[in-house]
Amino acid sequence: MAHLALNSKKVERCRELAENISQPVESIIATHSTLAIERAVLRLLGVDGAVVQKGGQGFPEVNAIIDQLSGADQSPISRGVLYWFVNAMIQKKMTAAEAGRAAAGGKINLLKLPVAPEAEIRKKAEELCRKAISDLVASRDRRDSLRRELGDKFDPEGKSGPIIYVIVATGNIFEDVIQAKAAAQAGADAIAVIRSTAQSLLDYIPHGATTEGFGGTYATQENFRIMREALDEESKKLGRYIRLTNYCSGLCMPEIAALGARERLDFLLNDAMYGILFRDINMKRTLIDQHFSRRIIALSKIVIHTGEDNYLTTADAIENGHQVLASQFINERFALNAGMSQNLLGLGHALEMNPEHPNVFLLEIARAQMTRDIFPKSPIKFMPPTRYKCGDIFYSHLMDAMFNFVGVLTGQTIQLLGMPTEAMHTPLLQDRWMSIKNARYIFSGAKDLGAEITYRDGGQIERWAEKVLDETLSHLELIAGKGLFRAIEERAFAEVSRTETGGKGRDGVFMRDPAYLNPFFDQLPL
């Protein structure tokens, strides 16, 4: 594989700066929790029912319980939900599921029960968490044994060529299953079920199987289960392990991590800053949530996909390539801080440069290759163009082909396939089929090309890569100097400004009481 001669001192310095940037945030993470984390804790214990509300809609028990502990006065929740909940289990001699149902249904009031000695509650909570963790490990083992059985060849370093990743987004999970199976048969290696467009801002996870969504399908535990079961079946039929992806972002990030881990997901879209920038979710909320999410993800060895591919949909791609790289360094640092290893970090990128720019593909190759070379152990996820897509599906198909070519040439690990109809609708079955055929042709036809070429010393590609690295370094210096929060406020990323006290979900952040109880923080590996 051809590599770029990048200055490794500069790369090292970038990693140092990312660590400096993460430090002040880590101390906030260590002293705070969020309502979403507390809900995730209950879900890990197996509280996964729903209270049927007016109109027949299911409202999750975990939300009903947490709401009772966190009204205007946040002091009960600051001890951690487990303190109250485990006490209820002791007092009422109930299992977690029973206590969850009783508390959510208003049959017991967690705050009005006699309180067991602290040590007893703690001991029981520790046992419950250990059990929950061993359940997650069992799910992980079940997933991994199916991979082994089918001789799964996924290689994070991308040495065997990019895997084919496509999306399904019909809004109906049962229709999604049909589309996903057809995609797998055509050659897809990973299926992402796109979420309904509003879900990231819902402060609860909808319940049960869903058949209606907008621009996608709701992420629910039952939908995860249905799709994973269908892909298990299809994987066995095809003799090839098909991966499942969903979105671990938004206001329910830690809960989705918990459900994704339990339902054996392979990939989760999970980014330290995406929610802040693109969904206007409060900074602290997002950064605290991403940490706990990634602790679970690290245990379950799920590959995350970061969201840097979105940055340049709003900012100019030629001028701002360094923002993507700077963010990748920061995302990497936060993930490592949460106990993840580099082979689980699917760093996302997409350059979205103006196709009319002369020699634009030299720049695309430079960016793709430098990402590969700077993060050699990580499964790099390469995204196709979307910003310059238009209704001319034939031109669009050609753009995708060019990006497929860059992907195979530069050794990307996961290639999200572009669709000819990107600018029009969520993919039709035939759109996905055409795209997969396109990618298979190019991935096979240019399989070893990267190993046959070298980049010219001091040539345009290498110079561009060096320029972006230099700009990244000074961008990181700037962010480290200002602190991450202020830098985001001053539009360090994607030309978006957010404030420390602004954004959605801020009310859900609270300071942990000195007696805060959550043994997951101790028991999840670091």
Binding site: A186, D316, W433
Partner: protein, 283 residues
């Protein structure tokens, strides 16, 4: 005399390589396995659509139980283009400095424009391209205009909030971007905005314009908006429209009536627009 036939606008037909050959390419999927019967089914389907000389170029298996077809065929239909009238956004093409100058001299104060991607829609790409400084395709965004006071409220803004903000900012124009169109959610959201505005007595206070890849001007009118902008619209086109529409509304209402009504009669029959026009006249 020309050796090739000239286009006949009264009987316009598609052009493949010979004038009036009527050639059309089609691609679709049937939910059946490829087979001789599936091929025949695809042909018959295309025949029923009124096509002739059907050439089935490809039948491919696109997953178990699905066949993908590419077909070339000739249509026997034609249209009389000379009778077509399309309702278009009524505005002149102008450059940014020209627009700034006109606002300065004709209005003498900044025009206030707010914009958002509304409802559950999370795609800011459209509204950003129009409002943000940088603009789109070399055409600077509304923020760059000296005589426009432009505010981008971002995505997932509820109609309720949008109207509240419009009042707060004392907006002259409200821009709504709609990207997601599944289950016609964009139409529902747009109609809901106008219904709310009417209820609050705000319909005529603001110029309402919609934009998005699937938005057309007639569709926007049917939803009760004043204008709709499709894919590829540049910020200067929107700015120029806001200026023109603002000036039109300064003219005594009776003359507005004469100017607007005959044009609208030609195609738009939906009540929403009629009502909106009437109200304007009454005031």
């Amino acid at each position: 005399m020309s050796k090739v036939a000239q286009v006949n606008l009264k009987k316009l037909r598609p052009y493949g390589d010979i004038m009036d050959d009527g050639t059309i390419q089609l691609a679709f999927t049937l939910p059946v396995e490829p087979s001789a019967e599936a091929r025949e089914a695809a042909q018959q389907l295309v025949q029923k659509m009124g096509f002739e000389q059907i050439k089935l170029a490809a039948m491919e298996q696109a997953g178990t139980g699905f066949s993908f077809f590419v077909i070339y065929a000739n249509t026997r239909f034609s249209v009389d283009m000379t009778r077509i009238k399309v309702i278009k956004v009524d505005s002149e093409k102008r450059a940014r400095d020209e627009i700034d100058e006109l606002i300065k001299t004709q209005i003498g104060r900044k025009l206030v424009v707010i914009g958002a991607c509304t409802g559950f829609d999370a795609h800011t790409v459209g509204i950003d391209a129009i409002i943000n400084m940088k603009g789109f395709a070399g055409d600077y965004g509304l923020e760059r205009y000296q005589w426009l006071d432009a505010h981008n409220l971002g995505a997932q803004v509820s109609n309720e909030d949008l109207l509240r903000k419009a009042q707060e900012f004392k907006a002259d124009a409200v821009l709504v971007s709609k990207v997601v169109t599944q289950h016609n959610i964009h139409l529902k959201d747009m109609k809901d905005l106008i219904a709310r505005a009417e209820k609050l007595g705000l319909r005529d206070k603001f110029i309402f314009a919609a934009g998005g890849p699937r938005i057309t001007h007639p569709m926007a009118l049917e939803c009760g908006f004043d204008a709709g902008f499709g894919v590829g619209t540049k910020p200067s086109e929107v700015a120029s429209y806001v200026l023109d529409e603002f000036l039109r509304r300064q003219i005594p209402r009776s003359s507005v009536k004469r100017k607007l009504v005959p044009k609208l009669k030609s195609r738009v029959s939906k009540n929403a627009k009629k009502k909106a026009t009437k109200k304007k006249v009454k005031k």
